[in-house]
Amino acid sequence: MATTAPSASLEDRAAAWMAFGLRVTLGVLWLVNSGWKRPPDFGENQARGLYAFTRDAVEHEVFAPFAWVVREVVLPNFRFFGWAVLLTEAALGAFLLLGLATRLWAVVGLVQSVFITLSVLNTPGEWEWSYYLMMASHLGVFALASGRTGGLDGLLRPAWEQSGSRVARLLLRAS
């Protein structure tokens, strides 16, 4: 799936494969962390797991408007939001590992990282830099378009460029 130009310098190829490594690392991060979101109640009945972390947005407020949304909208409809989190994170793992529509999924990962940061940044015992690093890593994957090396984006972009269909144009932008 390598798509780095054969004439690229060793330095360029090393940089491209570093971007590949960053993308795969983030893919594994989301795959692993979609594992502990446990339906059907996502920890609501025993106030633990995803429910407890989400409630931290209210109990250890980071940003008042976000805390209000969590208190008034998310927590009363927690099962729906639990499923949304689980499916989003599972999809993040799948698409970042494949390197398909990578820039789009890097943005989704960045947004999810912001939500997590706004939920737990002020929770005692949390290491705040881990959340800043998550956001920075997704920005890096976006900036480097890292699905183009060792990913399906690199393999499929020539076909999308030739196609000219609306879907192909969207995928070109997303990759």
């Binding site: 979101k37 689980l86 590992l97 398909l100």
Partner: protein
């Protein structure tokens, strides 16, 4: 799309998923065949022997299709992975979770499904005759 590169990508996906499934099959050897609590690999995917077997069989089907250059077989394996992902979502947290799976399995199965289907349906460049 370059035929050889597409086949290589299909083999990578099939190979990685088969390896994970085989690892799950080994780790779940002491778990009952359709247990809803599978054996866990490195804090990520969990498998009952049934779940691991489904994963391995579908990955081998995809690999065989890729080796034979049979895009329809790869497509069938990809669709089957997609159905397996949906099935896992529907039974997560229930006793009917025969796969012994957790959320991470959805990610793995979804990745295999999307990757194989996208590769199988993408137009491939044919060699030009002189």
């Amino acid at each position: 799309m370059n035929v050889a590169a597409a086949r290589r990508a299909e083999l990578w996906i099939a190979g990685i998923v088969a390896a994970v499934g085989l690892w799950g099959l080994v780790l779940s050897r002491d778990v009952s065949f359709t247990s809803d609590r599978g054996a866990r690999i490195a804090d990520s995917v969990e498998f009952s022997p049934f779940g691991a077997l489904v994963t391995v069989v579908l990955a081998l089907l995809a690999g065989a299709g890729a080796l034979a250059g049979a895009q329809r077989v790869v497509l069938a394996a990809g669709v089957a992975f997609g159905l397996a992902a949906v099935a896992v979502v529907l039974v997560l947290g229930k006793e009917a979770n025969w796969f012994g799976a957790r959320g991470s399995n959805v990610s793995l199965l979804l990745g295999a499904a999307v990757g194989l289907v996208v590769l199988a349906v993408a137009p491939r460049a044919t060699a030009r005759r002189p």
